[in-house]
């Protein structure tokens, strides 16, 4: 798996683990690039089992939330599964305020998420 400009991608037990390289996700161009790299994973590489690892992310804006919603929708449309993990308490609070914690499938950490993928 090759790293992209915005995303670090690895394969763990058949799950595509995607890490954000940026600590802050708020800029329009940056958000577009993240969206494009993620879409390529789904459309070009045919990935359907994806974990978004937020361990580097300290801040995100409402535009970034919008993009996450679109990515989640995209994977679901392809009958894939998207989970998220390693979310800092401040970011988790943003998800809770916006109730996106009800929309997204959020796990504590990577092992926890991998176990959930295995069912």
């Amino acid at each position: 798996m090759s790293d992209q400009k915005r995303l670090k991608i690895s394969d763990v037990d058949g799950v595509t683990v995607v890490e954000f390289k940026d600590r802050k996700i708020l800029d329009d161009i940056q958000i577009q690039e993240i969206g494009q790299e993620f879409s390529d994973l789904v459309e070009v590489d045919g990935k359907r089992t994806i974990l978004l690892n937020f361990s580097n992310v300290e801040f995100l804006s409402s535009s970034a939330l919008g993009k996450l919603i679109s990515l989640d929708k995209h994977v679901k449309q392809k009958d894939g599964t998207l989970k998220m993990s390693n979310i800092r308490p401040e970011i988790m609070e943003v998800f809770a305020i916006t109730r996106l914690n009800k929309l997204f499938d959020i796990k504590e950490d990577v092992p926890d998420a991998l176990a959930a993928f295995r069912g």
Binding site: L26, D27, D28, F59, S61, S62, S63, L65, G66, K67, I69, S70, D72, K73, E90, V94, I97, T98, R99, L100, K102, L103
Partner: protein
Amino acid sequence: MGDDNNWLWSTVETIPSDTGEGQRLIKELLTQLELAEWASHDSFGIHLAAEEAIVNAIKHGNKQDPNKSVHVDIRVGKQEVMIHITDEGPGFNPEAVPDPTLDENLDVPSGRGVMLIKAYMTDVQYNEQGNSVRMTKTKSN
């Protein structure tokens, strides 16, 4: 609190409709919050509210028109922060923004900025036209 508040730092600026300029201001605000010993949880909320308000003014208010500006008044005190952002757009009705937390709106990708500002700031007031927002945050105990 009125103008007699003992502000440690303040800036009044008119910036172009350019998010890069907004980022410069926000970076300065974060530095000043740290100097004024605001806790990270409060700083995170102020950061998010300032980001949303400035981006709303540039993108939705001024439609990124290079001929329009955003007026910014930011003040940082020991116990309170005040952020006042005004754009040159037609304004909007914040009450008319659909509630993004309703089940039917959960997967709509936009419309969360206004609610995040409300959630993180202590007091949020829009002017009648809806092109100016004044928000304050009182330090959490």
